[in-house]
Structures are given as C-alpha cells and as structure tokens.
C-alpha cells in the first residue's frame, strides 16, 4: 500500500480512504510546468464541421493543453468527446478550425515523423511482412538499407517479435499486431507517440501484458506519450496525468496528476480508488454521451458508486 502523503482536494463527496492518491490540480489546466517549453502545446484548439444533415457540429472547443517532454499523458472522455480527433489533429492528419499546435514551441506543418500515431485497429499494412512494416517509416525517410535492417531487428526484439519478421499481419494475434504497430512507430524514432485506444479491442490478459510492456518501453526510451482511452482505470494505471474531456463539444474539464508509484498494475486498489475519483468527475458526461446514443427507450445510466 502506498503511504505517500498527498493533499486531499476532492471536491466530490465520496469517502476516499487516506491512501488515495489522485489529486485534482488547482492550477489552470495544462499550464503547470513553469517556463520550460512543452513538448506538445495546444492552444485554443477548436474544431467544427458540417454533418451530413447540414448542421454545424462543434467537436472540440477551446482546448489548452501542454505536454511535458517524457510525460505519459492520458486523455479520457466518453465516446463522442472528440478525443481521437484531438490525436489526429496533433498528428497533423486533420487541421483544426482555429487554434495552434506547437511541438517544441514550433507550429506543426501537417504530418511529421516526430509524432507517430498508433491506431486502435493498428493500421498495419497487410501487403507487407512484419519486418517491412517496421521498416516502412525509415524507408520513407530514406535511411540506408543496412541501418534500416539493424533498427528493424532492434525494435522487433524490443517488442519480443524477433522471430516473426517474415510473417504477414493476418498471421498474428491481436496483441502481436499491436506490438508490431508499436515497433513500427518507435522505429521512426519519434519524440511523441500518439496512441488512439490501442488496446481497446484486445482481451484482458493481452491488454495487461501490453500495459507492462508499454510502461517498460516508455521508461527505456523516454518518449512522450499521449494516450487516448475511454477506460479510466487504464488511464490511471498508465498515466503521469489524466486529462478529462467533456462530451460534445469536447473541452478539457479537469486533470488529475497520478503520482502512484510505478510499475503499477490494473488490480492495485490504489489504481481503483484513483480511477473512481476520476470517474465521479466524468459521470455526467458519460450519461450525456449515453443519452445521445440511446435517443429513445431504455437508457442505461451509470449510477454513483459503480466502479469503472
């Protein structure tokens, strides 16, 4: 059990035991890191688009967020809050309606290999072997073949897939595919990894294993990770900080620094408790998201006290 002394600042009326460690930052969202230039800086990001029926939909509004170099940031929100869209914006695959995205203080110009995305359905290329997939970004960069080979080997071993270099993607299990995707992303040596619910489609055991591996890789490589998930416990288990987005339009609602000692496990009671505090904050937005999804009839509601 963790015995860290952490200021208790829970605005929510739940009985959290002393050892709970999630805190709600009192500082303005995302501006807590002094004068150092953040690795990724979002300022006043808004995104709206026209739906098929012609109405204007405000997807994201006024998002301000700074991500420290080497930070593991988790973004949580109900489905439809635009958290995936936010990652697409940072990756440069989409352009915000207004606002600025800075990497090392410089505005981004479209996609760049300093920011690599890992998609939920992995986005690996089925016409290439595992090795060729990992090599792809380096090939686009024009690295010499010998160097590509060597790095491909290195990163495949890092995700424990050294033996599968010549397999095709469809021959691998879901967890192995996600590991290839991680290796492919790391091989371009990006500063920032953007992970879009990468483990959502995996079974629980595989996901636990990949949590451990991701935490290990993050510690060994020192990359900045922005990890999007709808799973609050996953966010608390992995993140240095958890940022909550509201449901449509997506806005930063609040943020929770997570100071629990690492390595963590999804089963740690401290993780559960911290997750509960986050979930309490999120409940209204989840319900609004559910209301929007179930326009009529039975509306399952998440009641207070139900854990994530």
């Amino acid at each position: 059990m963790s015995t860290q002394s952490v200021p208790r600042q829970f605005p929510v009326a739940i009985n959290l035991p002393q050892r709970a460690t999630a805190t709600r930052g009192p500082v303005p969202v995302g501006r807590a890191h002094g004068l150092a230039i953040p690795k990724v800086g979002l300022s006043e990001i808004c995104l709206s688009y026209r739906t098929q029926s012609g109405e204007r939909l405000q997807a994201l509004t006024g998002i301000n967020l700074d991500v420290r170099a080497g930070e593991f940031l988790c973004i949580v929100g109900p489905s439809g809050c635009g958290k995936s869209t936010l990652l697409h914006l940072i990756a440069g695959l989409q352009v915000p309606t207004s606002g600025q995205i800075l990497v090392d203080g410089i505005p981004i110009q479209g996609p760049g290999t300093d920011r690599i995305m890992i998609f939920q359905d992995h986005g690996l290329f089925p016409w290439l072997t595992v090795g060729q997939n990992v090599e792809f970004g380096m090939k686009m960069k024009g690295l010499p073949k010998a160097e590509r080979r060597e790095k491909t080997q290195h990163y495949l071993h890092l995700v424990h897939l050294g033996k599968f270099e010549n397999s095709y993607i469809h021959q691998l299990s879901g967890g192995m595919r996600q590991r290839v995707a991680i290796a492919r992303a790391l091989a371009t040596e990006p500063d920032v990894l953007l992970m879009d619910e990468p483990f959502a489609a995996l079974d629980a055991q595989t996901r636990d294993l990949l949590h451990d591996e991701l935490e290990r890789i993050w510690r060994n490589t020192g990359r900045t990770i922005i990890f999007v998930t709808h799973n609050v416990r996953e966010a608390v288990r992995l993140g240095d900080r958890v940022v909550l987005l509201t449901f449509r339009p997506g806005r930063v609602k609040s943020e929770f620094p997570i100071t629990l000692p690492r390595p963590r496990s999804l089963e740690d009671p401290t993780v559960t408790l911290a997750a509960r505090a986050v979930l309490d904050e999120l409940r209204d937005d989840i319900n609004r998201s559910l209301d929007a999804e179930y326009s009529a009839g039975i509306k399952p509601r998440i009641e207070p006290g139900v854990s994530a």
Binding site: T113, I116, M117, G123, W127, F136, G137, K141
Partner: protein
C-alpha cells in the same frame, strides 16, 4: 483428383458430341467442320508459322493497349475518386460510356490514325480503359481510410504515398476490375483486327472466312479462347493467390 476427373468427363463428352454430330453428316463439312479438320488446321497453322506470328503480333498489341489503359485508368480513377466535382460529373459519364461497344470507336479511329496499328490500339484502350478506371475509383473508395492515414503519418507523401501505400492497399479491390479490363482489351483487339489486314489473330480468323475454311476459323477461335484463358489463369489467378496469401483473405473459389 475428383475435380480433374470431372473436367475430363465433361470435355470428353463435349468432344464426343461434336464427333457424333459430324458422323451423322447432317451438314456438309464446309458448314460444320470435323474435329480432325480443326486439328489439321491448327497443325498446319503452327507448322507454317502463321499462327505463331499472329499470336506474337496480337499479344504485343494487347499488352501495349492494356498497359496504356491501366496507367491512364489509374490516374483517371484516382482523380475521379478524390475529387467531388469529377465524381459527380465524370463518374456518371464513365458508367454510361461503358455500355458502348468499343468497336464503335473504329470509324473515328480510322479517321484519326489511318489504317494503322494505332487505330487498333485506340480501340483496345477505349475497350478496357473504362473498366480499369471504374475499378480504380471503386477500389480507392473501398480501401480502408486508415492505410492512407498510417502512410502519411509515417512520412509518405505524394508519389511515394501512392506507390507504396494507396496502390498496394487498393489492389485487392481493383484486381477484379483489372481482370475485366483485360478481357475487354482482348475482345476489342480481336474485333478490330478482323476489320483489316492486320497480321493478328483476328485477321487470320477472317482469312479462314475468306477462304471458306471453317476448320481454320474454329482453330483460331480455339486459339483466342486458349490465350485469354492462359493469361487469366497465370497472371490474374497468380495475383489473386498472392493477395490472398498476404492479406489472409479467404480464396474466392
């Protein structure tokens, strides 16, 4: 093995029926040639090299014409698929043009290119271009968006993005269109070749007609079918099999 047996039985039966009909002598052999007559024509045609030459000339033409179609069709198809204006305007035109038999272009082709190989090539291109274009457009739309996103994300853009990502990603969706384009190219070629002294298979077939040698006509028809079948079986079946192995798709029988 069972399948091979079924093939043998079927084709033996067909041949038997042919022999039976010729043996009954309902029609004279110049109207209804015998299998032996056709076999003799085939042998003679290969022996005096005229079939070899015809095959070489026709294959060369269809490869050039089809090649042009594929290149042009890819550019056109991609253009139509990625531009809303083009899609709304040209998309409909392309579909309606497909109902036009390519040989309808022959009079114009003659006028523009004269009695030359280029006139034939033009008809071949017009015959297969539409299938390839429509297939490419469709493939580009069916292709999961994530491949393009992942490609751009990993630093591919412009021609590299097309060549290393968009093209291979859409291949499973365009292979049937490419195959159809090939069949149309082959048919258009033979039709066009029948219309003038062109040295190709079409002309050899017409020569059989001019000499009232129906055995030769049927011999060339068999050649045309065989060549079409071989290209389909070797090139396209091979391509489909490779795609299935890589993508892990179930074989489409």
């Amino acid at each position: 093995m069972k399948r091979a047996m079924r093939y043998i039985i079927f084709y033996a039966g067909l041949l038997g029926l042919w022999i039976l009909l010729t043996e009954l002598k309902i029609w004279p052999p110049y109207l209804f040639p015998t299998p032996w007559g056709v076999a003799e024509s085939l042998y003679a045609g290969f022996a005096d090299h005229s079939y070899w030459i015809a095959i070489r000339v026709s294959m060369q033409r269809v490869l050039i014409g089809y090649g042009i179609s594929v290149l042009l069709g890819m550019v056109l198809g991609l253009g139509v698929a990625s531009n809303k204006f083009l899609e709304e305007t040209m998309g409909g035109l392309l579909v309606s043009l497909q109902s036009l038999p390519s040989i309808c272009w022959w009079p114009l082709a003659l006028l523009w290119f004269g009695l030359s190989q280029n006139a034939i090539l033009f008809v071949v291109v017009m015959g297969s271009l539409l299938s390839v274009t429509l297939a490419m457009e469709d493939g580009r739309k069916q292709m999961p968006k994530i491949f393009g996103q992942a490609g751009r994300n990993l630093g591919a853009k412009g021609f590299k993005l097309f060549w290393y990502v968009l093209l291979p990603a859409s291949l499973p969706f365009i292979v049937s269109g490419l195959k159809q384009g090939w069949a149309f190219a082959w048919r258009s070629l033979i039709t066009a070749e029948m219309l003038y002294l062109s040295l190709g298979l079409g002309q050899v077939l017409m020569m059989g007609r001019d000499l009232n040698d129906m055995s030769a006509v049927i011999a060339v028809m068999l050649l045309i079918i065989a060549l079409g079948y071989i290209v389909d079986g070797i090139v396209f079946k091979g391509m489909e099999r490779r795609l299935q192995n890589k993508w892990g798709l179930a074989p489409a029988n």
